[in-house]
């Protein structure tokens, strides 16, 4: 119970603090999405060759089509097919 309470407080702290400090639209904040998403994406692609190929395929598709559902389905099916060895 102590563990769960502590985890909940720690997590909420990281989320709520920025909402209650007056944050102006600093110029550097515009780099947050690109940096955060790249940091999440790259390690997942480096996990295996299958992941890298599937990721590049998603990248190619995403350049043509911005729909998130399309990207999602492309990623899942591409990786699934690669993993079962198509």
């Amino acid at each position: 119970m102590m563990l769960i309470l502590g985890m909940a407080l720690a997590t909420y702290f990281t989320r709520v603090t920025p909402f209650f400090f007056h944050i102006r639209q600093y110029r550097f904040l515009k780099f947050v999405p690109a940096s955060v998403f790249a940091s999440l994406i790259f390690p997942d692609l480096a996990r295996s060759v299958d992941n890298l190929i599937a990721g590049l395929l998603v990248f190619a598709v995403a350049c043509k089509n911005r729909d998130l559902l399309v990207a999602f389905l492309t990623g899942v099916f591409a990786l699934y097919l690669l993993k079962i060895g198509v």
Binding site: I4, Y12, V16, T17, F28, A34, I41, G55, L68, A71
Partner: protein, 211 residues
């Protein structure tokens, strides 16, 4: 409209938290659902299970959770100025529901208002909690392969958002620096450290090129 946008995340959350429910219930029993309700952060919850299995102290687990989730500070700093007119209460509620994925969906819709973000958060939260419950009750029925492939759908979504978000050299440099550094560092601290490096790199390049 919101539901249609949220569906991929909801499906993924449902099954990922189902996987969480399966492993967590062996340690925390029915408290696992309480964790999903109060914490609502995938990476942190999986790390907690892993560390609890290895008998780490409560304090060290909480510290790890704090570090892993410190990336929320960046995301919420980005989101909070987009919703200046919210009441204190609504800010507090919105903050609770910001995850990598709800952040991604929220900022990918250019004209999205606060209500849109709130609904996204709520739908994702519902999927997360109900998935955990299913995992605790009968998670073993899902083939393990499924759990491995599905999270990649979220990565694919992030790729799509990165493509539409990276405009100009400075953004591309920020992304490449952050991404490579994230691989190099590895572990729970990777995302926050490499993101900060990417933000600095992007700002420097912007100043040089006068973009």
């Amino acid at each position: 409209m919101v539901l249609k946008r949220a569906i991929p995340v909801m499906i993924s959350y449902f099954f990922i938290s189902m996987a969480f429910g399966v492993v967590a219930s062996k340690l925390f029993d029915f408290y696992s659902i309480l964790m999903s309700v109060t914490v609502f952060a995938g990476a942190a919850q999986f790390i907690a299970v892993r560390m609890a299995q290895e008998n780490f102290s409560i304090a060290s687990i909480i510290l790890a959770v704090l570090l892993v989730n410190s990336r929320h500070i960046l995301m919420c700093s980005y989101i909070s100025p987009l919703h200046p007119d919210l009441s204190r209460f609504k800010k507090a509620v919105m903050a609770f529901g910001i995850t990598d994925e709800t952040f991604a969906l929220g900022i990918s819709e250019k004209s999205s208002g606060s209500a849109y973000q709130m609904r996204l958060n709520f739908l994702s939260f519902t999927a997360w909690v109900s998935g955990t419950a299913f995992g605790i009750l009968f998670g073993e029925i899902i083939p393990e392969n499924f759990y491995h492939v599905l999270p990649f759908g979220l990565t694919a979504m992030f790729i799509s958002i990165l493509v539409s978000n990276a405009r100009g050299y400075s953004h591309v440099i920020a992304a490449i620096i952050a991404g490579l550094l994230s691989i190099a560092i590895g572990g729970g601290m990777a995302v926050i450290v490499s993101s900060l490096a990417g933000i600095i790199a992007g700002s420097v390049v912007e100043r040089w090129t006068g973009e």
